[in-house]
Symmetry: C2
Subunit: 191 residues, 2 copies
């Protein structure tokens, strides 16, 4: 490797219609696309939900559902299963799509599934989790959830649990994922 | 810009767990993620479907539904509307999610919506389409469809039209999008 460091400028590549990040050294075009987050609301036989306390920024110390970026070469369901295994040691059984959320500000689409884990003891914090635990509805740490979509997913899963139409849910009316549901601001963040 | 040309090697960046494309000149890591295709099955008041004959490779000359890569900063629904406008001049009204398909071989997730266009005359071929036209079910050029997921989407939309459960459809059992439904092979292709 030479002494160069990465350096990009916004330019419109030939034949393209939009500005892209173009390398100042070699002309490589770093196309950026929206990213897909895959995750799940996991329940045990007592219908408690599985949450992971984040060991990484952003939102370290806050609680989230198992979720993360979909990788190349996998289906969304496989990705959601992989994330539950990596973050919570859980080999989940995916049931169906719960919701599609979009957060245009950070160009993110989230595909959230409903899932079960038959053995509630079969969980373990992975490297990105400080701890993992089961929560009944009334014990959910609402004030300490990591992202608005964690709120949305938990509430939507409860509606599904109560027999709501199986259409997948989407962002709550008017919500773009920029703030927590109680209005608190958020860092620009990844899952 | 210097005399360099883009040059990448597969390496595992520090703190990462997988091989990525790393620039030989400056160490820039070109992360690749699955891509999101957004599209729609559009119907006119006579319940005909809108198809576009592709003016670009792959699958030039074959028929497809309006669809393409989701861009940064838009919702999936906005992206599906944009593609219908770009490819068919159609200002569609999106109804609901029809299907989520995945094609792991090319790391693609497709979000396909049901949509209406009240005025069937308000269509026009865009730069990526040779022609655009409305088709009744029996007139659909099944042998000349561009991609397996176009097949799937048209059939799933018909099931939805006939009152099927509004759960979004997914890949047909066992189908990974590698071949047309009649078994014909496909080029690795983009929408």
């Amino acid at each position: 490797m030479s002494e160069l460091t990465p350096s990009f400028s916004l330019r419109v590549p030939e034949g393209d219609g939009a500005e892209r990040r173009v390398c100042d050294h070699c002309g490589f075009v770093a196309y950026e696309n929206p990213k897909i987050v895959v995750g799940s609301v996991v329940r045990d036989p007592a219908r408690r939900v599985l949450l992971c306390r984040r060991a990484i920024e952003p939102r370290r110390g806050f609680w989230t559902i198992p979720a993360g970026y979909m990788e190349l070469g996998e289906t969304p369901e496989e990705g959601a299963g992989r994330e539950a295994l990596e973050e919570a040691g859980a080999r989940i059984e995916i049931r169906r799509l719960l919701a599609i959320y979009s957060v245009p500000r950070i160009s993110q689409v989230q595909l959230i599934y409903r899932a079960d884990l038959p053995d509630p003891a079969a969980i373990e914090a992975g490297p990105e989790s400080l701890e993992v635990a089961w929560f009944g509805w009334d014990a959910i740490p609402w004030e300490d959830l990591a992202f608005p979509s964690v709120h949305w997913a938990l509430r939507h899963d409860r509606e599904a649990e109560e027999g709501a139409s199986p259409v997948p849910f989407t962002n709550p009316e008017g919500a773009a994922g920029d703030r927590m549901p109680d209005g608190r601001p958020l860092p620009v963040g990844d899952f």
